[in-house]
Amino acid sequence: MHFTVNGQPVDVECDLRTSLLDLLRDHLHLSGTKKGCNQGACGACTVLAEGERINSCLALAVQYEGREITTIEGLGTATALHPLQRAFVEHDGLQCGYCTPGQICSAIGMLREFDRGVPSHVTSILTDEQFALTHDELRERMSGNLCRCGAYNGIVDAITEFHEEAQ
């Protein structure tokens, strides 16, 4: 199977039963993406496929053959943090850190959705083309990512600051 992962072409031989998550972690040794519930409930495994956030645990790797996958390793490194990673550190958007790679990938995908005008469950006027990224909008849009440490306030602050600075 051929993929583009974090900009690099990769060819892997693996069992058809391999999830995209296990392909990344066990075959490509990109252990930044985390396995939490392994059933689509926690969001720790969130990666970007063609720029869209997905749960890599619910995806068979073979379904994403030929696709471009971005993981946390493709966004920033320990010596060159992504601006959103830096904002998470500054705002205490993590405690144990296990959900953080998923939170960051999800937030990047979420902001792309927001910028192209995708409404959410809490959007009051569906036909509006632009919305404000309010506290409620942000929390609803990030509801697929759980944080057992409860660092939500810091996560919201970090994403809000990153979004404001990016604008």
Binding site: R17, G40, E52, R53, N55, E113, P119, H121, S143, N145
Partner: protein, 328 residues
């Protein structure tokens, strides 16, 4: 997971030609099927991946909308024509699952996700007629707070989990199919079955038949439509009760109405009786309440879910009041 073979369908005819054999399953976004395969509840011998087939939303000259089966849930919810003319559908999709799952899940796959409850997943610990026909149902006498109150049977009390399908039921959507017998269409309200004594058979699809798209009829009625979902937490949870509705009021009289319920039955529950009660009558809260009571008169609660009857009635009234207020 048990081993399987995999083929990516090049076209609808290619997919249909590969299917129709026992053990072969179509694969959409995989968000339900892959999960069930991992739990060994689903054990397909072959997967035909239809997730890369057409995914367009076409506005037709007659005002109807044709949505290809591989269209992702997010793409439907954000589509301009859906938001303007079928707001109930956008609202329902956005109330379902998480953004990650909505980015993966296809229209066809959402409709064909399994009607399920927690006992269905518990392969090693519980009896389930859906998993093993004739085995018995541990939900009927077990923890059944989330289970069905309408149309259930002693064999199965699970509910259909889709929010999107409840909106489609209210919108009289037409499901386009292709199979060994050729092309045909079926109303969304005839697609899913009630459990009866065969809860393992959930739809009227013939073996190997593929959903190729869903057609939304053009009706002014649908412009004033919405969806309300009641759940245990404010996001990312299945419905205890949900209501999709459209309402047209002229001079204080209900000219036309559509109501469908989620979280209460083995399939999206079209509230035909409530609609019939309302049509031509006054658009008042008392009338909404009376119509809801007519619909819920058939409800049969289990030990832990009797609250759903009153909850469904109140939610119907609240949604119709909201839509009625919009028309004032």
């Amino acid at each position: 997971m048990t081993p399987f073979t995999y083929a990516r369908a090049a076209s609808v005819p290619d997919a249909v030609q590969r299917a129709g054999v026992t053990g072969v399953k179509y694969l959409g976004g995989g968000t339900n099927l892959v999960d069930l395969m991992r739990e060994r509840v689903e054990r397909p011998s072959a997967l035909i991946d239809v997730s890369r087939l057409n995914a367009a939303i076409v506005e037709r000259d007659d005002g109807s909308l044709m949505i290809d089966a591989a269209t992702r849930n997010t793409a439907i919810a954000e589509h301009r024509a859906v938001r303007e003319r079928y707001p109930v559908l956008s609202r329902a999709i956005l109330a379902g699952a998480s953004a990650q799952i909505r980015n993966m899940a296809t229209l066809g796959g959402n409709l064909l996700q399994r009607t399920r409850c927690t006992y269905f997943f518990d392969d090693e610990g519980s009896r389930c007629n859906k998993r093993t026909p004739g085995q018995g149902c541990d939900a009927v006498g077990g923890f059944n707070r989330n289970h069905a109150i309408l149309g259930a049977s002693p064999s199965c009390v699970a509910t259909h989990p889709s929010d999107m399908a409840v909106a489609l039921a209210a919108l009289d959507a037409v499901v386009h199919l292709n199979g060994a017998g050729g092309e045909r269409t079926v109303s969304i309200n005839d697609l899913h079955r009630l459990p009866g004594d065969r809860p393992d058979i959930e739809t009227e699809l013939a073996p190997g038949e593929l959903i190729t798209g869903v057609e939304l009829p053009a009706r002014q009625l649908y412009v004033r439509s919405t969806y309300r979902k009641v759940r245990d937490r404010s996001s990312y949870a299945f419905a205890l009760v949900s209501v999709a509705a459209a309402l047209e009021v002229q001079d204080g009289v209900v000219a036309d109405v559509r109501i469908a319920l989620g979280g209460v039955a083995h399939k999206p529950w079209r509230a035909w009786k409530a609609e019939q009660t309302l049509r031509g009558g006054p658009a008042t809260e008392d009338a909404f309440r009376a119509a809801a009571q007519v619909e819920l008169a058939d409800a049969r609660p289990l030990a832990h879910n009797a609250f759903k009857i009153e909850l469904a009635m109140r939610t119907i009234v609240a949604v119709l009041n909201e839509l009625n207020g919009d028309s004032a």
